[in-house]
Symmetry: C2
Subunit: 385 residues, 2 copies
Amino acid sequence: MSEERGSLSVRAVRGSAIRDLLAVVEQPGVLSLAGGLPAPELLPTERTARAAQAALASPAALQYGVTAGAPPLREVVHARESTKLGRDAGTVVITHGSQQALSLLAQALLDPGDTVIVEDPGYIGALQAFDTTRARVVGVPLDAGGMRVDELRSILQRERVRIVHTVSNFHNPGGATLTEERRRELARLADEFGFWIVEDDPYGELRFAGPTVPPVAAFSDRVIRLSSASKIVAPGLRVGWMHGDAGVLALVERLKQGADLCGSSLTQAVTAELLADTVWLDGHVETIRSVYGERARALHTALTDAFGDRLRLTTPEGGMFLWGEFADGTATSANLGEAVDAGVAYVPGSAFAVQRDLAHSLRLCFTTSPPDELREAVRRLSTVL
Amino acid sequence: MSEERGSLSVRAVRGSAIRDLLAVVEQPGVLSLAGGLPAPELLPTERTARAAQAALASPAALQYGVTAGAPPLREVVHARESTKLGRDAGTVVITHGSQQALSLLAQALLDPGDTVIVEDPGYIGALQAFDTTRARVVGVPLDAGGMRVDELRSILQRERVRIVHTVSNFHNPGGATLTEERRRELARLADEFGFWIVEDDPYGELRFAGPTVPPVAAFSDRVIRLSSASKIVAPGLRVGWMHGDAGVLALVERLKQGADLCGSSLTQAVTAELLADTVWLDGHVETIRSVYGERARALHTALTDAFGDRLRLTTPEGGMFLWGEFADGTATSANLGEAVDAGVAYVPGSAFAVQRDLAHSLRLCFTTSPPDELREAVRRLSTVL
């Protein structure tokens, strides 16, 4: 409430401006590509109901749990992470969605004034978590190959950095995936300069095109990996996790005790069962990939047909978002009102800007609309932009 | 991680010392009165399973929810709070257990160095939440009538206080309930001196003896009330809430966005159904009251028979804990190891001390042991203390 809270207020206001926008576009008749939700028709209600019934055979599902998370869930997450990394390393703390992981890591690792690097455009949840600690948030530009690690190197030569945050796969909002070469270089820099990499990877399993790239954590132990059940099972469970260095995670566990004591034994038991049922999970994730891939291609094609060279687009290989930049200076923020009037919504690039001018960019979410709706949304967009 | 984090570390270590202790006493053969869990046999697994099935008929139970909490849950909580207060006031934010409510309120209202008043002995979760903000935590002694509001008044005449935290009913760990006269005086002081009262009331509905006292919030608008489903339904749902001033709660809602985006749509839908089913809930809470009342009386009688005037005990009227103080200087911390060897465990008073010397006190939880076990536990205690 004091003056010092200034930076928090600015970002909180920005966050709520987007929430206000999202509230407006929930009008009937508006085709919204502004959201960031999984497709509701793919949420596994029946399988989850069976898992809930099984969990509730025991009162343990309704009792307090341990702060670090239910042991069976920690084990299955650890096994999955070890497979991804190609080695058995680190420990796991279960969090209340991966947003809590970000928030606790920020508390654990940052003092006011510490420098933290984010991508520009940046993931808004990370910006909010870092701002709360009154850290100095510095953006490094994102291009089609992910974070410009060469620009990060120049910053590191000038100042001490505590955390580098990256959404390594299918960036939100930028759509880009960090190339393997840059991952190796980023890992080398962490070892050389002693910062922590926070590899925020909610979308990594949602790849529908192109070859898989190893996680940044495959190349260094100075990486804390975050992910969650939100995009592969369901966000309503609020089950996220953090994997990495035991010392950092022990500090996070202590802070979690003060933050909320522990997570829900019920949703953790449900998630443990669903993640361990690999036959079901593999099929389920394959369905999500296939549906999202079809939608991403439909949106990309429609946008290319409508705008041609005027709109530079990321090539969709996974995740939930396309990012576009108008080469001819079309202003996305200024035109949003008119777009909503025409029955279509998106998030203007400026909402994600750290230091860059993103006034001609926009984020489009392809997950919650079938191809025909996406094509109609683009038709409406083309009448305005 | 810097030097500034000193106070956090001290408290975190204290918290984990108790956790280490609790881990030790989970040995077979040890009758533990050291815990603080609801009786597992009273957790409503079947009713919850039915509610979960009903909620999972809709994908909305698995989707992201709004940050302030699911509207049907906010409505039923608001109605319950209005009934308790005797007037329709304030708004509601749903939190991840009431520990998250404490943590977000601390973030929202406190700057480093601000003074916050707690009871001494104090609720450890509150101490942890306030320490995280690096506030100055000052204890006011607790007696059989709750917080010594006269002592609070002398502090207020010396320094500016931002928050006064009170567990108004059946204090954890002190067992005491704040008298109505002191509630009125505390409310008057909040209005006069402009601080916020955080009325932390998880146990209020667990009264098994004596007349109900109106909440502190009945006497002032400068009260934020916290409670949860943990003690009346189940802690494993992790559904808590905050009720009070719309301005403070709007700030908390913004901070919650950075902390974890939103709560679980599934556990919120389940909790909304269970709280709205008043026929079931009233019967369920009546069962808890009756079982806990029987256990509390059994423990109180056995302790009085065994220790007589040597042990000053709170008179149990509700909640989950008895607090005792040895009048003859028996040291509870020093004797804990021997007690565990004799097959019984408790939490020494020093674990809850803010500024007072509580070396001769102890907290005993009566909820998870039937009367015979409680009597046997006291017999073992009497061989050591």
